[in-house]
C-alpha cells in the first residue's frame, strides 16, 4: 500500500510552527548582534596583539571551532549549574549562540583587518591620523565591508545550528515541530514543512543582512 502524504495535520498547527520560527529568528537576532560584537572585540585584540587578551581569544577560538555546538550547548545548560551558574532554556541557547558566533567572527573579521593594504595605512599616517583614527576609519570599516558576506553566512549557519536547542527544550522551531509530530504522527510531513521554513528563513536572513551591509557597513547604495 502506497503511503498517502497528508500535510493538513501539519497545517493545522501552523500557528505553533510560525511562533517557533519567530522565536528562532529572535534568538538568531540577539545571537548575531552580540556574537558579531564579541567577534569584533576579539579580532581587535588578535590583530593588535593586546596581551593577554589576544592569547585568551586565541584559545577561545580554537576551543569553540573544534567542538560541536551541541556539546557547547549541553556544557552550558547541564554543566555550568554544577558551578552554580544556572540559567533558563532560552538564555542558555542565546549564550551558546553568542559564544559560537563570537569565535567564528573573531577569525573572519581578523582576516578582513589583516587584509588591509599597507598603502592604505601609510596614506592615513601621512595625513596625520592617529592610530585609533586609522583603525576606525581606514581599517575597520573596509574590513567589515569586505567580510560581511562571510559574516552573513556564519549567522545563517548559527541559525540553522540552533535547531539542536530543541534538545534543551528551548521553544524554537524544531521544538515546535517535535511537538506537532508527536500529536499528529505525521513525522515526515511535519519535518518536511519545517525544513522548508528553515530554508525560507535562511534566504530571508541573507537578504536582510546583505541589504543592511550595503547601507550601513559599506555606506552607499549601489
Amino acid at each position: 500500500m502506497a503511503y498517502q502524504f497528508d500535510f493538513a495535520p501539519v497545517i493545522d498547527h501552523a500557528d505553533l510552527l510560525l511562533a517557533g520560527a519567530g522565536f528562532t529568528l529572535a534568538l538568531t537576532a540577539v545571537g548575531a548582534v552580540f556574537g558579531i560584537g564579541l567577534g569584533t572585540a576579539g579580532a581587535i585584540c588578535r590583530a593588535w596583539k593586546l596581551r593577554p587578551f589576544d592569547r585568551l581569544f586565541g584559545v577561545y577560538v580554537e576551543a569553540i571551532r573544534n567542538t560541536p555546538f551541541l556539546v557547547q550547548l549541553f556544557f552550558i545548560f547541564f554543566g555550568l549549574p554544577a558551578l552554580g551558574v544556572r540559567m533558563g532554556e532560552w538564555q542558555a541557547a542565546v549564550l551558546a549562540m553568542v559564544i559560537n558566533l563570537g569565535a567564528y567572527s573573531t577569525e573572519i573579521i581578523r582576516a578582513g583587518i589583516e587584509a588591509t593594504p599597507r598603502g592604505q595605512i601609510e596614506a592615513a599616517q601621512s595625513l596625520a591620523l592617529t592610530r585609533r583614527q586609522i583603525f576606525r576609519h581606514v581599517v575597520l570599516r573596509p574590513a567589515l565591508a569586505k567580510v560581511w558576506p562571510a559574516l552573513t553566512s556564519q549567522v545563517i549557519i548559527v541559525m540553522l545550528g540552533s535547531a539542536v536547542c530543541s534538545q534543551i527544550a528551548t521553544e524554537e522551531l524544531t521544538f515546535a515541530a517535535n511537538f506537532i509530530q508527536s500529536r499528529n504522527f505525521r513525522a515526515f510531513e511535519t519535518y518536511f514543512l519545517t525544513t522548508a521554513l528553515y530554508f525560507a528563513m535562511a534566504l530571508l536572513i541573507r537578504q536582510l543582512l546583505m541589504q543592511l551591509g550595503r547601507h550601513v557597513i559599506v555606506g552607499r547604495a549601489r
Binding site: N66, T67, V71, F75, A163, F188
Partner: protein, 217 residues
C-alpha cells in the same frame, strides 16, 4: 541498580563511544567525497539542467539544518519501506550533507583556476574533457586540499547531531553518562575534550597546508 562510576569509568566509556564518532566521520567523509565528486562534475558540466539541479541540491543542504536533514532521511527511508537503524540514517544523512558542502568547496577551487588557463588550453585545441583532465583539475586539486581537510572538522562535529536521532556516539554516550553520574560538568567537559582531540589536529593540518600553498604560489 545504582552503579558507582569512577572518572576512569567515564573516560573508558567515552573512548569507546569515540570510536563510533570516528567511524561515522570516516564513512561520511569518504562516501560524501565520492558523491560530492559526482555532484561537482554535474555542477560544472555544460548541461544546463544538470547545473541547475545540482545548484539546487547544494543550496538546499547548505540552507537547512543538518538535524532536519537527518530527520527527513530517517523518516523518509522508513516511509519508503526501508527498516532504518539510527546508524544507517546517520551515515546516509551525513553523507548527503558532506557531499553538498564538498561539491561547493571544490567548485570554488575549479573557479579559482585563472581564466587564462582555460583560454590557453582552448587555443591548443584541447576538448572540454581534455582541458578538465590535464589543465584545470590538477590545479584545482592543489587548491582544494587545504579547504577539504578543513571541512573534515565540520564532518566530525556534524556527527554529534546524529545523537539526536538515536545514534550512540560520543555525545549520546556523554548524555547518558551525565544522567547516570550526576556529573554533567565533568562528563560534557570530557566529551568536548574528545571532540577537540579529534578536530584540532585536522584544523592545524589544514592551516599548515594553506600556509604552504600560499608560499608556493
Amino acid at each position: 541498580m545504582l552503579v558507582q562510576f569512577t572518572t576512569w569509568d567515564i573516560v573508558r566509556n567515552l573512548l569507546d563511544a569515540a570510536k563510533w564518532t570516528l567511524a561515522l566521520s570516516l564513512i561520511a567523509f569518504v562516501l560524501g567525497g565520492l558523491v560530492g565528486l559526482a555532484i561537482l562534475f554535474a555542477r560544472i558540466s555544460k548541461h544546463r539542467a544538470l547545473q541547475a539541479a545540482t545548484k539546487a541540491y547544494i543550496e538546499v543542504f547548505q540552507g537547512t539544518p543538518l538535524l532536519m536533514q537527518l530527520f527527513i532521511v530517517f523518516f523518509g527511508l522508513s516511509l519508503a519501506g526501508i527498516d532504518v537503524s539510527p546508524w544507517l540514517a546517520a551515515a546516509a544523512g551525513l553523507t548527503l550533507f558532506t557531499s553538498a558542502y564538498l561539491a561547493e568547496i571544490w567548485r570554488g577551487c575549479v573557479d579559482a583556476v585563472p581564466k587564462g588557463q582555460w583560454e590557453a588550453s582552448a587555443t591548443l585545441a584541447l576538448s572540454y574533457t581534455q582541458q578538465m583532465r590535464h589543465v584545470i583539475l590538477p590545479q584545482a586539486l592543489r587548491i582544494a586540499i587545504a579547504p577539504t581537510v578543513g571541512f573534515s572538522v565540520q564532518v566530525v562535529k556534524g556527527t554529534a547531531v546524529t545523537s539526536i536521532i538515536g545514534f550512540t556516539e560520543l555525545t549520546k554516550t556523554g548524555s547518558m553518562l551525565a544522567n547516570a553520574t550526576f556529573e554533567p560538568f565533568v562528563v560534557f567537559g570530557l566529551v568536548a575534550a574528545g571532540y577537540f582531540a579529534l578536530c584540532y589536529p585536522l584544523s592545524l593540518y589544514a592551516k599548515r597546508l594553506e600556509r604552504k600553498f600560499h608560499v608556493a604560489r
